[in-house]
C-alpha cells in the first residue's frame, strides 16, 4: 500500500523554485497496477522518484506498507526508460547488481539470479554486454535486474517507449505475467494510451506542473490484459478524451 499525503516538492533554491508537487495525495492498493499518463514535464517522473525515496519531499507524508520513506527501500525496484543498464557490466552482472549492493558475494549473486534469467528468456546471453543486445533484450535485462531483489513494488518510468510496437507488446505481456504471479504493486508512467489501457487497473490522467489530477479511468480487474476488443477501445477513448482537457503541450 502506497500512501502520499499532502506532499510538496520543488526543484531549485528559494528564488528559482519551481513547484512540481503541491499538496499531492495518492493511494495505491497492494497488488494494484496504477498507470500515470500526462503531458511531458508535468511532474510524473518527479512523483516516481519521490515514491522511490530518491528525492526527498519538502513536506508531506509518504508511506509504503505503513513505513515512512526516507530513502531507497529494499523492496522497491525502479525501471527507467533508457539509462537503467550499465553498459560496462555483463548481463549477469547487471541483473545481480542489486544483490551485490546488498552485500551478497558476486558468485553467489550470479547463482541466485539464474531463475530470473531463465524466466526472462535471457539464458545464453549472460556474458554479453548490453551493447551486444537488441532493445527488447536490454529492457528484459532491466526488468530482470528489478526482479532480482524480489520487490513488492515496481516503479516504471516510460519503460518501453523506445521499443518497436511488437517488442513493446511482448514486454507488456511479460509485465502482466510477472505482476500476476508475484502479486506486485506497479506504478507505471507512460505516454502511450494503449499501454495505459492494457496495463492499468486504474489510469490517472495528470497535468502540471504542479502535478494535478485531471481524471481517473477505472479499468475492471476482469477486463485488463486484453487488446483489440470493444471494451479496450472504450477505455482508450475515455483516456484520450480526458487527455484532451490537458494543456496542448501534450505530444507523443
Amino acid at each position: 500500500m502506497i500512501q502520499l499525503q499532502h506532499v510538496y516538492q520543488s526543484y531549485g533554491n528559494a528564488e528559482t523554485s519551481v513547484p512540481i508537487l503541491t499538496d499531492f495525495c495518492l493511494t495505491v492498493k497492494p497488488g494494484e497496477r496504477c498507470v500515470l499518463i500526462g503531458p511531458s514535464g508535468c511532474g510524473k517522473s518527479t512523483l516516481l522518484l519521490v515514491i522511490a525515496g530518491l528525492l526527498r519531499a519538502d513536506q508531506g507524508l509518504i508511506r509504503i506498507d505503513r513505513q515512512e520513506i526516507s530513502g531507497p527501500r529494499r523492496h522497491t525496484s525502479l525501471i527507467l526508460q533508457d539509462y537503467g543498464l550499465f553498459p560496462w557490466k555483463r548481463v549477469v552482472e547487471n541483473i545481480a547488481l542489486g544483490l551485490c549492493l546488498q552485500g551478497v558475494r558476486k558468485r553467489e549473486a550470479a547463482c541466485r539470479v539464474q531463475p530470473v534469467i531463465k524466466r526472462l528468456g535471457l539464458s545464453g546471453l549472460e556474458q554479453r554486454y548490453p551493447g551486444q543486445l537488441s532493445g527488447g533484450q536490454r529492457q528484459r535485462v532491466a526488468v530482470g535486474r528489478a526482479l532480482a531483489t524480489e520487490p513488492d513494488l515496481l516503479l516504471m518510468d516510460e519503460p518501453f517507449s523506445s521499443l518497436d510496437a511488437l517488442t513493446r507488446e511482448s514486454l507488456q505481456n511479460l509485465t502482466l505475467e510477472i505482476a500476476g504471479r508475484d502479486q506486485l504493486t506497479i506504478v507505471l508512467v507512460t505516454h502511450n494510451i494503449e499501454e495505459a489501457a492494457f496495463l492499468g487497473h486504474r489510469i490517472l490522467v495528470l497535468d502540471g506542473p504542479p502535478l494535478t489530477l485531471i481524471g481517473t479511468v477505472e479499468n475492471q480487474l476482469s477486463t485488463t490484459g486484453y487488446r483489440g476488443q470493444a471494451a479496450f477501445y472504450e477505455t482508450c477513448t475515455r483516456i484520450r478524451s480526458l487527455l484532451q482537457h490537458c494543456s496542448q503541450r501534450f505530444e507523443d
Binding site: 522518484l49 525502479l78 550499465f86 557490466k89 549492493l101 554486454y129 551493447g131
Partner: protein, 252 residues
Amino acid sequence: MKPGSSQTQGGVGLLIAAAVLLGLWQLAAVVVNNQMLPPPLAALTSFIQLAQGPLAIHLWSSFYRAGYSILLSLVLAVPLGLFLGRNPRVDHWVAPMIFLTYPIPKIVFLPLVLLFLGIGDASKIFLITLIVFYQILVTTRDAAKGVPEADILSLRSLGGGPWAVYRHVIVPACLPDILTALRISSGTAVAVLFLVESFATVEGLGYFIMDAWTRASAAEMFAGIIAMGVLGFVLILGVDLMERYLCRWRQT
C-alpha cells in the same frame, strides 16, 4: 576512430606504416646528403650496438622518469577530477583556478624547479607530473560531469551508497576518457622529458641526444632519437593494453 579500437592494433598496418616511414627517411637522407642525417640502416645499426651499452641505461632512466610521472599524475588527478566533476559547489570555486593556470606553459618553471628541487630525478618528475596532471584532471572532471543523472538514480535505487556510485557508475563511465587523456599524456610526457633532460643532467635520453649532437655524432644522436621513439611507443602500448582490458565492453 571506432570507440575502443586501439591505435597499435593490427600488426600488418603497423609494419606497413614502419616500412613507409623508413622509406621516406631513406629518401630524405639521400636528398639532403648531409652526414648529420644518416640513412635509417646506419642509425638502426648504431642503435642496436649502443643499446647493448650506455644507451640502455639512459633509456631506463628516461622510462623511469616518464612512467613515474604518469603514475603520479594519475593517482593525483583522477580522484580530484572525479570529485570536482560530481561536486558542483566545490567545482565552482576550484574550476576557475584550474582554468587560469592550465594555459600557462609549465615548462617555463624549469629554472625555478631546478633551484628548489635540485638537478636530480625529483625536478624532472615534478615538472612532467605537473603538465600531465592538468591534462588528466581536466578530462576526468569533464567526463565525471557528463555522467547521466539517471545512471546514478538507477544505482541508488538498487541500494547503492556514495561509494558504490563511484565504483559502479562514475569510475567505469569515465575510464574511456581517462585512458584517452593518458594516451595523449604519454606523448606529452616524452616531449617534456626531452626538454628537462637536456639541462643539468648526465642521464636520460635527452642528455644522450644533446651530448651526441654537441659531438656531431650523427649515428649516436639518431640512436637516441630511435630510443625516444621506442619509449613513447612502449608507453602508448601500455595504455592500449590497459584499455583493452578495462574497456572490454566498448569493443563490441
